[in-house]
């Protein structure tokens, strides 16, 4: 494989690493931070299920991003990934709970604008709509789960130690589901832009199983996420765990499961097809923000408790992120594309 291809793929792998380092904390942060689950256990489960989710269910969201703008040259995809990564870094430093999703969408639109390609406005509006829907749905699901769980626990009268044992198991299972959903939903952010220009070829194993070039890309992206989980997420998990310490482990489980359901809903081709088959509007398969789903769920529980503990400033900062991050990512993407095409004489589109 050409060395330049590896360098260009590094852009996506960097995004994958940062996703693993940051978003794994949304899945296992509270469990690890409160020492309900060991970091090593969390990291292994998270990595396995992120990779499985990416390979098995990562296609739907990737197709949607492809419809927004099909980047058709590796240097262009590289510029989009680096622009997304840098803008996420800048916004995170500014204390805004942003996501790679919003960054990559901005970067793709930046590529469209720079290369004069059309931006599918209908797809763009659908994507923007899901950003708003994601924390709202997470909040509603969390409110439902919270009410059911609270009433169930009051009726069951479990011993505090038995409840602790069940909660640990539930946190681990919810974490595995969360990791699967994260891989399925967010792999598009990491590898989506490389799919139309994948440098890999399909591999057939005994004419029985075909490992497509897309799946190979997703495996690579999944591995990058896993490296991010193992190398950097521990610190983030403990920060998240300590920040949410006011929340009980049971409430933490509700947050994780609500977040996971939302990510799964927006990535599941099966659910989307099922809804269509019964004449209901299908759910758009769009990569959504894991962090914002968590914040939505936390706010949902806060509202049920009377709303006093809700930090509305965080909700405000999320809204700011919806507008500023894609714009910044688009601008950085255009600057990088200009540099690559004019200084390095690279083809950024065909």
């Amino acid at each position: 494989m050409d060395i330049s291809i590896i360098i260009f793929l590094l852009g996506g792998l960097f995004l994958g690493w940062s996703l693993g380092a940051n978003d794994a904390a949304n899945v296992f942060g509270t469990a690890v931070g409160t020492r309900m689950v060991r970091f090593k256990t969390a990291a292994i489960v998270c990595s396995i299920f992120v990779i499985l989710g990416a390979i098995i269910s990562g296609s739907g969201t990737t197709e949607t991003l492809g419809k927004l703008g099909a980047i058709n040259a590796l240097p262009g995809a590289f510029a989009a990934c680096v622009a997304a990564g840098v803008s996420v870094y800048l916004m995170t430093k500014a204390g805004l709970p942003v996501s790679t999703t919003q960054a990559i969408v901005g970067a793709i639109v930046g590529w469209n604008l720079y290369t004069g390609s059309d931006t599918n406005i209908r797809v763009l509006i659908t994507i923007l709509g899901t950003w708003v829907l994601c924390p709202v749905i997470a909040g509603v699901i969390a409110m439902g789960f919270f009410t059911i769980t609270k009433n169930y626990l009051l009726r069951r009268k479990l011993h505090i130690l038995r409840l602790d044992a069940y909660t640990r198991t539930a946190l681990l299972l919810a974490g595995a589901f969360g990791a699967y959903s994260l891989g399925a939903n967010n792999i598009a952010n990491v590898m989506g832009v490389f799919v139309p220009i994948s440098p890999f070829t399909d591999v057939s194993i005994s004419n029985f199983f075909v490992f497509s070039s897309k799946e190979q890309l997703f495996l690579l992206g999944g591995l990058a996420i896993a490296v991010g989980v193992f190398t950097y997420s521990k610190k983030v998990m403990f920060t998240v765990g300590n920040d949410l310490l006011k929340m009980s482990p049971v409430a933490a489980f509700i947050v994780v499961i609500s977040h996971s359901i939302v990510l799964f809903l927006f990535a599941s081709q099966g659910i989307s097809n099922f809804l269509q088959s019964i004449n209901l509007p299908s759910i758009p398969l769009v990569p959504v923000s894991s962090s914002q789903a968590v914040v939505g769920a936390v706010i949902g529980i806060g509202l049920l408790k009377g709303g006093k503990e809700v930090q509305w400033s965080v909700a405000g900062r999320i809204t700011i992120g919806w507008f500023t991050l894609p714009v910044i990512a688009a601008l950085i993407s255009m600057i990088l594309l200009f540099i690559l095409s004019n200084i390095f004489n690279l083809t950024v589109s065909f």
């Binding site: 020492r35 292994i44 130690l161 038995r162 009980s248």
Partner: protein
């Protein structure tokens, strides 16, 4: 698998549940023995039954100490209930102090042999019964903290009720002691015993207040 052995986790949990239940049982039983010890002392202090009962309280106290240490070790070694671990351990320690207070009272009776005139027997037995009822209500409060936090408040309210009853009975008995014709040294000696028994209720009420706070922290 992955450092989370499910069967070990659940067996540790069941063992600890039994130990904590056993600890609360001991507190309750020590109270019941103490309830019999006072009339036994007042009526038959000469025969060996009283000393036998004091020895029984001592054995139960040692057993409670052992359980506290075992629970402490398991909770920290297995990192169980990380959010409520310190609360549970503090609760067990304070309940252990309560058992110690019962034991201390028994020893004081055994060593100092206070001379309670017959006219105070009934009041002293009544005070002791109220104190034991107060601790029984505390045992219910603690059991509800572990299993049914919804009823913690109701049971804690009973502890407060018995504590007030005990204060009334203590004041009345102390007043009667000092109004009597006994020499001052005997009055002070008897007051010391009455006060020490009443203090068990104060400690029980403090623990019940603690449990109510822990229950609020435990709510989902």
């Amino acid at each position: 698998m992955f450092g989370l052995n499910k069967s070990s986790l659940f067996s540790d949990t069941k063992k600890l549940e039994r130990e904590i239940d056993g600890f609360v049982d001991i507190l309750s039983e020590v109270g019941l023995v103490f309830k019999s010890i006072v009339p036994t002392y007042l009526n038959h202090s000469a025969n060996g039954k009283f000393e036998e009962m004091v020895e029984k309280v001592k054995e139960m106290e040692s057993k409670a100490d052992k359980i506290t240490k075992e629970v402490e070790h398991t909770l920290y070694e297995e990192t169980l209930i990380p959010d409520a671990r310190s609360d549970v351990l503090r609760l067990l320690e304070h309940m252990d102090e309560l058992i110690g207070m019962y034991q201390g009272n028994c020893y004081h009776f055994s060593i100092q042999k206070p001379n309670f005139p017959k006219e105070f027997h009934e009041d002293l037995i009544e005070l002791t019964e109220t104190v034991v009822n107060c601790v029984e209500a505390l045992c219910l409060t603690v059991r509800s903290f572990f299993r049914d936090i919804k009823t913690v408040r109701d049971n804690a309210h009973k502890v407060t009720f018995y504590e007030k009853e005990s204060d009334i009975k203590f004041s009345s008995l102390a007043r009667r002691i000092f109004d009597s014709e006994m020499p001052l040294d005997q009055k002070m000696h008897l007051r010391y015993f009455v006060e020490k028994i009443d203090r068990i209720c104060d400690q029980a009420e403090d623990i019940a207040d603690e449990v109510q706070i822990y229950a609020i922290k435990r709510s989902v």
